[in-house]
């Protein structure tokens, strides 16, 4: 068990290292002088030289990478060229809206998607199933920003029930925080619900075809308990896996949703940084999001040991 944990944790190191190399090379491999790209179109030679000096661009690539990585391990992501601020601070100041949005979306999603998917599987082929799956295809096909604007148009402009855009910090009142997060997380949850409901249905369907479900029925167990006790408990591993994998969708969605609803989070920061060609910020944000994704999936891997007794060595 302990060795399994250790092995899983160690296995993420090469992946994260490769991610870091990739992100590092991204800037270095661009056609042209990275310093000139960073400095922007209106920089003079002195400014470019200064940037080159700062990034150690004259050093060999290998040295540059370890220099960069070493700084990151000390929490130093460099200075943002656009905001003229430490990237670390910048990120810290932008985390709250992103975290709030993500958590609220996940809670909404799991509460809606898992029961819907299970119901659809249980009623396979019925109208209930078809309607749920129909909505799932629809939800999966509508881009987040289209849903976002449609929701704003309906609930804020036409009905006037909810504020249009913007964010309120949780310390300034939970009510306002919640109200302003409601539409963004709803918009973001749609695609997420569509995906997870569908995968839940597939997993539960697969389990319902297993022999032990027949055994449970042969015992005279009620259908509800067959579903809850035998099917869902066995479908838990694939469902949780899918939730973990769909964090990639969630993170992409966060970037777009924050732009639509002007939530001053990491997603909006990413877009601003890209538009401003603020590379230290871009690198830091991507690295951070990737790390979060890898860690979440690591945690999910570890949860298997609780969910499935067969994975325990």
């Amino acid at each position: 068990m302990a060795s399994y944990l250790l092995r899983r944790i160690l296995a993420t190191i090469p992946v994260m290292l490769l991610v870091a190399i990739f992100i590092f090379l991204l800037l270095r491999l661009t056609p042209g002088d990275p310093a000139a790209i960073i400095a922007g179109d209106y920089a003079n030679d002195a400014q470019i030289a200064e940037i080159r000096e700062k990034l150690g661009l004259d050093e060999p690539l290998f040295t540059q990478f370890f220099y960069w990585l070493g700084n990151i391990f000390q929490g130093d992501f460099g200075e943002s060229f656009f905001y003229k601020k430490q990237v670390g601070e910048l990120i810290a100041s932008r985390i709250e809206p992103t975290l709030s949005l993500s958590l609220m979306t996940i809670v909404l999603t799991v509460m809606i998607a898992v029961p819907l998917g299970t119901l659809a599987a249980y009623r396979q082929g019925s109208w209930t199933d078809r309607i749920i799956m129909g909505f799932s295809v629809l939800g999966f096909s509508l881009p987040v920003f289209v849903i976002g604007y449609a929701l704003i148009w309906l609930f804020s402009l036409e009905l006037g029930w909810l504020p249009v855009q913007g964010y309120q910090r949780i310390s300034d009142g939970v009510g306002g925080w919640f109200i302003r997060l409601l539409l963004p997380s709803l918009a973001l949850a749609v695609v997420f619900v569509a995906f997870i409901a569908r995968m839940t249905r597939t997993s539960v369907l697969e389990v319902l075809g297993e022999d032990y479900i027949r055994t449970a029925r042969a015992k005279g167990q009620t259908e509800r308990k067959v579903l809850m006790r035998h099917a869902l408990r066995n479908a838990a591993v694939p469902i949780v896996t899918v939730i973990g994998l769909s964090f990639a969708i969630l993170i992409g969605g966060v970037v777009v949703t924050e732009s639509v609803f002007t939530l001053p989070g990491l997603g909006l920061l990413t877009v601003e940084a890209v538009l401003a060609r603020d590379y230290p910020t871009i690198q830091a944000v991507i690295l951070l999001f990737s790390l979060v994704y890898v860690v979440i999936n690591l945690l999910i891997d570890l949860s298997y040991t609780v969910l499935d007794p067969r994975i325990r060595y």
Partner: protein, 540 residues
């Protein structure tokens, strides 16, 4: 005790979905099971025997519908019972065990919980009483150390132990009827013998009526009080054990029983042909030590020595995990041996690189177990047949001509070459696979459980075909099987394997009549139905 049967099936007919090639899964079948009696329903695949069992339990898949007749469980028709009533009956009055003990238990629940679930559904016992009762019943099915095993998960138990758990679940509420659907088919022969003994013991002790579904006449002979023979949804013959086994009336029953290979090996002359394969000190080791990983090394084959001459059939028998298939795959070089020597007609092939090996590939051909996966479904039989000769430079026209000849040799018409594999039955496909293997005119033919997936009547034909081609082409044949009856009939010599090691070898007749090793004796004793002589059409 009254003579009322626990199960009385009358005129039962179950409809198939309209798309099928016949309209009923079972048609107008009538039989009964009395208290304390084991009734075996025996038949080949598609005979409707499993459908019958599921119908009684009310566990038919949605596409199948009973349309006529009744299934009376102690006088109560289960076809007419409401869903709730049916749930009440399951477990209390009728219970079922299934073919696949590996998958029939919920993998994420502890075994005692799965037994106790039965008590939870149908009784008012408390949690601790349920656990106590579960452990008691585990003890009664002879599971070792039930206190400790109760908290195990299914994957920690062997196949035989899991089937015992299934039996414990089925019998914990003492039902009047136990339905056993091929309960030993997935088990090794020694485990099968134990499970059959257990079912018999339980049934005698409790007076349970047992409906036992099987395809295996050996098992029937071992356990049946009465026998029902089915064919394509209908009952062909039924009667007492003695009557059916010793004096079968219907030609179909007679044919089936004649097709079951006899446990008595025929007299065979010693084959003195030239040496085809010589294996020395063959080792195959799986797994390796990994970083932070527990060492997991499996000796799939260890120190294996044998030889086969041309014109001779060497049988390798053993249970699952004995390493018999590993040996076969090493010789076909589908896997690389870890060490040892394989001499093919004097050429050492154990260590040849893939490119050097290629010219020798044509000399060893293999026929696999599963006829449904052995032919590429996207290619016509003809394309599959000529692939090998064309690989070795035979002109396409020449290869086609040869393929037509071979099709006739295996009793298929030449126009079969233009068809696709899905248009053939399992037995026909296995013939095609044999023809394909012969297309290269090999010296060695490996049959890896080649008849194990076939119905007994088809099996007999394919065995005969293998015997014929061996003689005709003077082949050295390596016959891998778990089935002692089959081995008895086709092999000149036998080697017996257990856990990767050869425990005994010798002429088939000698091994059968005078086994030297403990394990061989165990295997021979475990073979079901040895007291009835099959294979001749009449019982002794």
């Amino acid at each position: 005790m009254t003579t009322e049967p626990v199960l009385d099936v009358r005129g039962l007919t179950v409809a198939l979905p309209t798309s099928g090639d016949r309209s009923y899964a079972v048609e107008d079948i009538t039989f009964s099971v009395n208290p304390g009696e084991i009734v075996c329903v025996v038949g080949e695949s598609g005979s409707g025997k499993s459908v019958t069992a599921s119908t009684v339990m009310g566990l038919l898949p949605g596409a199948l519908k009973p349309v006529a007749g009744e299934t009376l469980l102690q006088g109560e028709d289960t076809l007419k019972a409401t869903k709730n009533r049916l749930r009440d009956l399951r477990g209390t009055k009728m219970a079922m065990i299934f073919q696949e003990p590996m998958t029939a238990l919920n993998p994420v629940a502890r075994v005692w919980e799965q037994i106790a679930e039965m008590l939870e559904i149908h009784t008012k016992l408390s949690q601790s009483e349920r656990r106590k009762r579960a452990i008691e019943v585990m003890e009664s099915v002879h599971l070792p150390d039930p206190e400790r095993m109760a908290d195990s998960y299914p994957h920690q138990l062997s196949g035989g132990q899991r089937q015992r758990i299934m039996i414990a679940i089925a019998l914990v509420l003492d039902p009047a009827l136990l339905i056993a659907d091929e309960p030993t088919t997935a088990l090794d022969v020694t485990t099968q013998a134990q499970i059959l003994k257990l079912i018999k013991e339980m049934q005698e002790r409790r007076g349970t009526g047992v409906l036992f579904i099987t395809h295996d006449f050996g098992v029937v002979a071992e356990i049946a009080d009465r026998i029902v023979v089915m064919k394509q949804g209908r009952i062909v013959e039924q009667g007492d054990r003695e009557q059916v086994l010793k004096n079968p009336q219907e030609p179909y029953t007679q044919m089936l029983m004649a097709s079951v290979p006899s446990m008595t090996p025929p007299e065979r002359a010693v084959v003195g042909g030239e040496m085809a394969v010589e294996v020395k000190k063959l080792d195959k080791v799986y797994g390796r030590k990994g970083f932070l990983r527990r060492e997991r090394i499996v000796h799939a084959a260890a120190n294996v020595d044998f030889h086969v001459r041309r014109g001779e059939t060497l049988g390798i028998v053993g249970e699952s995990g004995s390493g018999k298939s590993t040996v076969a795959r090493c010789i076909a070089r589908l896997i690389d041996p870890t060490s040892g020597s394989i001499s093919l007609h004097g050429t050492e092939i154990a260590t040849l690189s893939q490119s050097k090996l290629r010219p020798h590939r044509r000399r060893v051909q293999i026929v696999f177990q599963d006829p449904y996966r052995s032919l590429n479904p996207r290619r016509t039989v003809g394309q599959s047949m000529i692939e090998a000769p064309v690989n070795f430079g035979v002109p396409i026209e020449e290869a086609r001509r040869k393929a037509r000849e071979l099709m006739e040799l295996v009793d298929l018409s030449a126009d079969a070459l233009d068809r696709f594999p899905h248009q053939f039955s399992g037995g026909q496909r296995q013939r095609i696979c044999i023809a394909r293997a012969l297309a290269l005119e090999p010296e060695v033919l490996i049959a890896d459980e080649a008849v194990s997936a076939l119905d007994v009547s088809v099996q007999a034909q394919v065995l005969k075909l293998l015997d014929d081609v061996r003689d005709r082409y003077n082949l050295a044949m390596l016959f891998i099987t778990h089935d002692l009856r089959v081995a008895a009939q086709v092999c000149d010599r036998l080697i017996v394997m257990k856990s990767g090691v050869v425990v005994e070898q010798g002429p088939t007749r000698e091994v059968f009549s005078n086994p030297q090793h403990e394990y061989t004796r165990l295997l021979l004793e475990a073979a079901p139905g040895t007291d009835v002589e099959f294979g001749s059409g009449r019982a002794i």
